[in-house]
Symmetry: C2
């Protein structure tokens, strides 16, 4: 409840959907909400949602049944969905964990909208956060990845439902297990949580215990590092957007096409004024059509600090493509490399057919087909 | 050599001092310099420096002898120093590793100046970088700590000699051992490198091998993460300094004292102009006496993003105290907490007797005695 207040989430009048797998974490979250509602400390409408990923046959169906019975016994509505994650992963050439995650979030978004809920609650704990940070560290992620999960974010891009993680900032997994036992509820054990073929399971069972021999509060330390890095990222993302504005080239429109010309900004305030007017005009005009991936002036980007330039280019490419999917660090490095030297006419290809070209002092984004 | 060029370090005419412990890394660095000099690819003057930390009695003296013989056989001058790190750690209530490090850097700075060297070279490798990142992660550091070691930085605050780490960005420890063997030189084994009472040794011998079962290139991934975070930190540190300028309060001087008044900035450009003039005046005046920890307007800091505010306050306190020594996260959180609410008259104490007070809409730094 303290976390709830600290985050400024409304304590009354809202409708929320809780994602319940049946494991200790989500069972504890559901039980805690019931306790807070009963005590009158929260006055919100709660429903539960459970997705059977279709990966474990009979035991998946048993989990679903168990969750809906638990929810009903606590006086909550419960919706159960079923997906075929295995097939989906094959079709989309995704790994199982990612496909399961995507299916789950889609299901939750649909169910939240159907129930008229403003927020989906998920029961991620400090341990989940630490595991996420370690997995990303092992991949060499920067601050964005190492920032781990946010306590609150939009559930879908552009959607209105948000995702909240009320346990993320303070609860250990052992706490949720303890609370379930205290309430006399036997949570379900997920066989996937024991399967050491999954990197996350090995992190949990081998890496975290070793880290705790160095610092008994290693999990908390990792979660704290993540929080600091998330704060840094928030600043840098905002600045990257500002840099994109500053690097934006003048766009002149003719009837049939949008042409880019290298901006030639001199020192005089009149030229700058004029350029600003052009920028404002361009903002209102060609921009929407390009979804924000407007032509950028190489000169401005080249003068920016590397940490900022890197993020600005990533943001720009993401705007142009409508997301970062399948984009690797190598692709972004190739785009960044276009800024080096003075030679134009070079192209960096992006996955899915898009590309970035350097021409006449500008970086130009081209969408794939 | 490629690293040398990438960093833009001069390839001729310079004088450098190499820190040589006698282990594989520093021995390899010295051998590599000799090879590059012989091949005419570098034309710089190289000398070696070795500090016996006085921690290992006879074997410490043997190492010193070995290093100076190696250096002379390669045609380099060599200086050997001796410190009593054990006593020093006791006196300054520092841990052994930190006291040793401090003694070594002081010795190197003195020797570099004496030799007229522009730079001290140290032989830290990718492995050292990864270990540093992990140790800091275990302490819950943010981006500054997790950024690890820089490839180049000033050796002392305000000094002219710089510290360069030519192996940090690319060489694994196994590479340096291999190169020593290739050259037929048997490097010294440091008993401290085997002593599992040191956290760094346990990280090297237990944690890193486990991480490599997840990703064979885990060390490289950690070093890459560190590099990204260092770039982020560079941006954020610069912005924090800008925020301090923006938050700087008007300082009016009377003969006997420096009084602070809450700045009341209205929207009109005239007032802002006037305020800027005040700021410029204050900059030339009272500021030097406060060593940069000028009064800050709570209102401006309160409106800044947390990631930036946190760094700005740390920078401000560091300027006021002349460094961050003994300052913990808890101290900085206490300072940050002063920004909350509307009540003044509150004080956050700092180690060493200094303090920060919130009064009349300002944060005021007071030096300890």
């Amino acid at each position: 409840l303290r976390e709830w207040r600290r985050r400024g989430w409304p304590a009354r009048g809202e409708r929320v959907t809780v994602a319940v797998s049946g494991g200790a974490d989500s069972t504890a979250l559901l039980l805690a909400l019931e306790e807070l509602l009963k005590a009158g400390l929260l006055e919100i409408e709660v429903s539960a949602a459970h997705l059977d990923h279709g990966l474990r046959g009979e035991s998946g169906r048993e989990d679903a049944l168990w969750v809906s019975e638990l929810a009903r016994s606590l006086g909550f509505e419960c919706v159960v969905g079923r997906a075929s994650v295995g097939e989906r992963a094959r079709d989309e050439r995704d790994n199982l964990e990612q496909a399961a995650r995507r299916a789950r979030y889609e299901f939750l978004a649909v169910e939240a909208r159907r129930a008229g809920a403003r927020a989906v609650l998920s029961a991620h704990t400090l341990d989940d956060q630490a595991e996420t940070v370690l997995l990303r560290l092992l991949r060499g992620s920067g601050a964005d990845g190492l920032g781990g999960m946010a306590a609150a974010r939009g559930l879908e891009e552009g959607g209105e439902v948000c995702l909240r993680r009320p346990l993320l900032g303070w609860a250990r997994r052992a706490d949720t297990e303890g609370y379930c036992r205290e309430r006399g509820v036997e949570f379900r054990a997920d066989a996937m949580n024991e399967d050491e073929r999954f990197a996350r399971v090995r992190v949990r069972r081998r890496l975290v215990p070793l880290l705790e021999t160095f610092n008994p509060r290693a999990v908390e330390a990792l979660a704290r590092a993540a929080e600091l890095l998330r704060e840094d990222s928030a600043v840098l993302e905002r600045l990257a957007a500002v840099l994109l504005e500053e690097a934006r080239a003048v766009v002149r429109e003719s009837r049939a096409e949008v042409r880019e010309e290298p901006a030639e900004i001199k020192d005089g305030p009149a030229e700058v004024e004029e350029w600003s007017a052009d920028v404002r005009e361009a903002r209102a005009g060609a921009v929407e059509r390009r979804e924000g991936a407007w032509p950028l002036r190489v000169e401005v980007l080249g003068a920016a600090l590397p940490g900022l330039r890197r993020r600005a280019l990533r943001l720009w490419v993401a705007r142009g493509r409508g997301g970062l999917r399948r984009l690797s660090r190598a692709h972004l490095l190739a785009v960044e490399k276009l800024l080096e030297g003075t030679r134009g006419g070079r192209v960096a290809e992006l996955p899915g057919g898009g590309s970035v070209e350097r021409r006449r002092g500008l970086l130009l984004f081209r969408r794939g087909e």
